[in-house]
């Protein structure tokens, strides 16, 4: 497809050249010319989308209390300042630890739960399985605030033995994120088809052996991709943890930034926290991309596919 377009573009160029040099009108009339305006627009969009974040990262190194005026480079908001740096302020570094902890708990619970669900639902064809598959997808698209309200009420009124805090946050996040592995693994199961399982069964393998030795190895990239997605979406999650956290001790970074900034206590320390979140996500994204590429080596598909898979598209 690219080759066709490229060759056509080349043909257009030679035609234009034949018609009296590269005059402006010929270039303009070339039906396969490169869309300069569209590309310019795209670059403007990207600048608008990414430069502010680069500036916010820059301000986390500001040697002053302003989030708007540059006063020189320093590490004070990370570790030099004895009171307000991420290293020395308990509330700040507790929020970092809480985020990592919630991400780890959620991934460890949600991924096996979702993978088992996907395997079971996909191979067990019946009305019950279809219904619950629909419920699972519904949990994927329900607006987060409505879901968060339900979680808030269930833990304050019905299951009130689960107090708001780390346990409630983890349970809520698992429910919210279990659909990633459930959906991604099912999509992969569809492309795998049933031939391998049937071959294994014909050769005398039991269901469990088939799953362990045939299906799970084939599913490894999908499971890995969903683990990466769950971990990173918990880092970025806000609404659920905002509604389910109860005090400073169980407040993750996103909620801490929000409550301080909107409470009027903003400052470069929040930018430092945001930069730490960004760095964590970046490391996971790169590890996820590289890992996915290694696992799917020798298969058809390219880097772009791995990219969109890791982004959850």
């Amino acid at each position: 497809m690219t080759a066709t377009r490229a060759s056509r573009a080349a043909a257009g160029r030679t035609r234009a050249a034949a018609h009296g040099g590269a005059t402006k009108t010929a270039r303009w009339r070339n039906p396969w010319r490169h869309p300069v305006f569209l590309e310019g627009f795209t670059w403007l969009y990207l600048i608008w989308s990414l430069v502010p974040i680069a500036l916010a990262v820059l301000f986390s190194f500001n040697n002053g209390k302003s989030q708007a005026a540059w006063q020189g480079f320093s590490w004070r908001w990370y570790f030099t300042d004895p009171v307000n740096s991420v290293l020395h302020n308990t509330a700040l570094h507790d929020s970092v630890i809480q985020t990592v902890r919630l991400s780890a708990y959620t991934t460890v619970i949600a991924v096996p739960l979702g993978v088992a669900f996907a395997l079971g639902i996909n191979r067990w064809r019946g009305r019950t399985s279809l219904t619950f598959n629909f419920v699972m997808i519904l949990s994927f698209v329900v607006p987060e605030l409505i879901f968060g309200v339900a979680m808030f009420f269930v833990f304050t009124v019905l299951f009130s033995f689960v107090h708001l805090g780390t346990l409630a946050e983890t349970l809520g996040l698992v429910t919210w994120n279990v659909s990633w592995p459930a959906i991604i693994v099912q999509a992969r199961l569809v492309t795998i088809g049933k031939q391998y399982e049937e071959a294994a069964a014909d050769l005398g393998s039991t269901q469990f052996q088939t799953m362990r030795r045939v299906l799970l190895p084939l599913l490894t990239p999908a499971i890995f991709a969903s683990a990466v997605l769950v971990f990173s979406s918990v880092i970025d999650d806000f609404v659920i943890v905002d509604l389910l956290s109860s005090n400073v001790g169980n407040t993750p970074m996103s909620v801490y930034i929000y409550s301080q900034q909107h409470g009027g206590n903003g400052g470069p320390a929040l930018n430092a926290l945001g930069t730490i979140m960004l760095a964590m996500s970046f490391v996971i994204a790169v590890a996820g991309f590289v890992g996915y590429r290694i696992m799917t080596r020798g298969e058809r598909g390219d880097a772009k596919l791995a990219l969109t898979t890791i982004a959850g598209a």
Partner: protein, 331 residues
């Protein structure tokens, strides 16, 4: 052809496009007993996930309903859930109704404002996002990977960090005001963060546009370029090809992309709170979140969030059906 499946392929060639789907094929001959235990095995695998969904997804929504239809403990101002539908009370519903319509209704204007803000923001997302997605899907050529990385980057940057970035820029002494003063577009700095609707809409666009672009990109990338080339070969101009060929083919991605931005925007309270924080810009999300934290009003918060859910149920199901269809088409 160019439509790659969403996941990598297994080493063996998959069944052709026109061969019957694997699910429809009769199972390999087995003993009846074996088939039954096989089924049990899959049921057992799915069971923990099903149990989890029942306890922590279905039951919670029933609890919200029970609180919405329940009453208020006048002493503690906490809601009392009523799980028996025969004894449901409508006091919360009536209260919410009076908030929404009538002379003293304060929530009515909030609903109208929410619709206006979300409509403006999602249309802006589309107008800004479509050209970018179209360019990357069709013309990026060998630099497609680079553009994709840059388009996907915001997914990996925390929403709070992205809002923080604009809070920095929009401060009274921030770069936006300084730039506007430098080019003499304004004579005094503008208090962008002091309750301006336009800032909220802008924040919503900035926050949710990456989702729209990724959906659009995935849809536009699937359009067979030979269809567009055919349109051009048959004498249509660039603009007419776009209107007659590309646009009709991108109707589905546009719809799902708009849904993926509209659904979360309707429940958004943090963008508004961070970029404005003033009551004169508050949206449904702010209303619900505020009621959740106010003793005595929690029941009404439950009613409102259920109302929102009912209104959004149809678009949600449409979205599920549409994405199911397109993923099956790709596989």
């Amino acid at each position: 052809m160019q439509t790659a499946p969403p996941q990598g392929q297994p080493p063996a060639p998959p069944p052709g496009r026109h061969s019957p789907a694997p699910a429809g094929r009769p199972p390999a001959p087995r003993h009846r007993h074996a088939a039954q235990s096989a089924n049990l095995f899959w049921v057992a695998l799915a069971a923990p996930g099903i149990l989890w969904l029942v306890l922590l997804f279905i039951v919670p929504f029933y609890a919200v309903l029970a609180i919405a239809e329940g009453q208020l403990n006048r002493l503690t101002e906490s809601p009392i859930a009523q799980y028996d539908p025969l004894r449901w009370s409508s006091s919360n519903v009536i209260n919410v109704f009076h908030d929404l319509v009538g002379g003293t209704a304060f929530a009515g204007p909030i609903v109208v404002r929410t619709i206006v803000y979300v409509a403006a923001a999602s249309l802006l997302c589309l107008v800004l996002g479509y050209p970018a997605a179209y360019f990357v899907a069709r013309f990026a050529g060998r630099r497609k990977g680079l553009f994709l990385v840059l388009l996907i980057a915001p997914f990996w940057i925390s929403y709070m960090m992205r809002m923080l970035a604009w809070i920095d820029l929009l401060q009274t002494d921030g770069y936006v005001n300084r730039a506007l003063l430098d080019v003499h577009l304004i004579s005094a700095p503008i208090d962008w963060l002091g309750g301006k609707g336009i800032t909220v809409v802008f924040g919503l666009v900035y926050g949710y546009i990456p989702y729209l672009i990724l959906v659009l990109y995935a849809g536009l990338d699937r359009i067979d370029p030979s269809l567009i080339e055919a349109g051009r070969d048959l004498g249509l101009s660039r603009a007419r090809t776009f209107i007659r060929v590309t646009l009709p083919l991108s109707r589905q991605p546009i719809l799902t992309g708009l849904l993926i931005t509209v659904l979360p925007m309707l429940g958004d309270y943090f963008t508004n709170q961070l970029l404005s924080g003033a009551p004169n810009t508050s949206m449904i999300g702010n209303l619900i979140e505020g009621q959740l934290g106010t003793p005595g009003l929690q029941g009404q918060g439950a009613v409102l969030s259920l109302l929102l859910l009912v209104v959004l149920l149809a678009p949600m199901i449409y979205y599920v059906a549409a994405t199911n269809r397109s993923s099956q088409g790709a596989a």
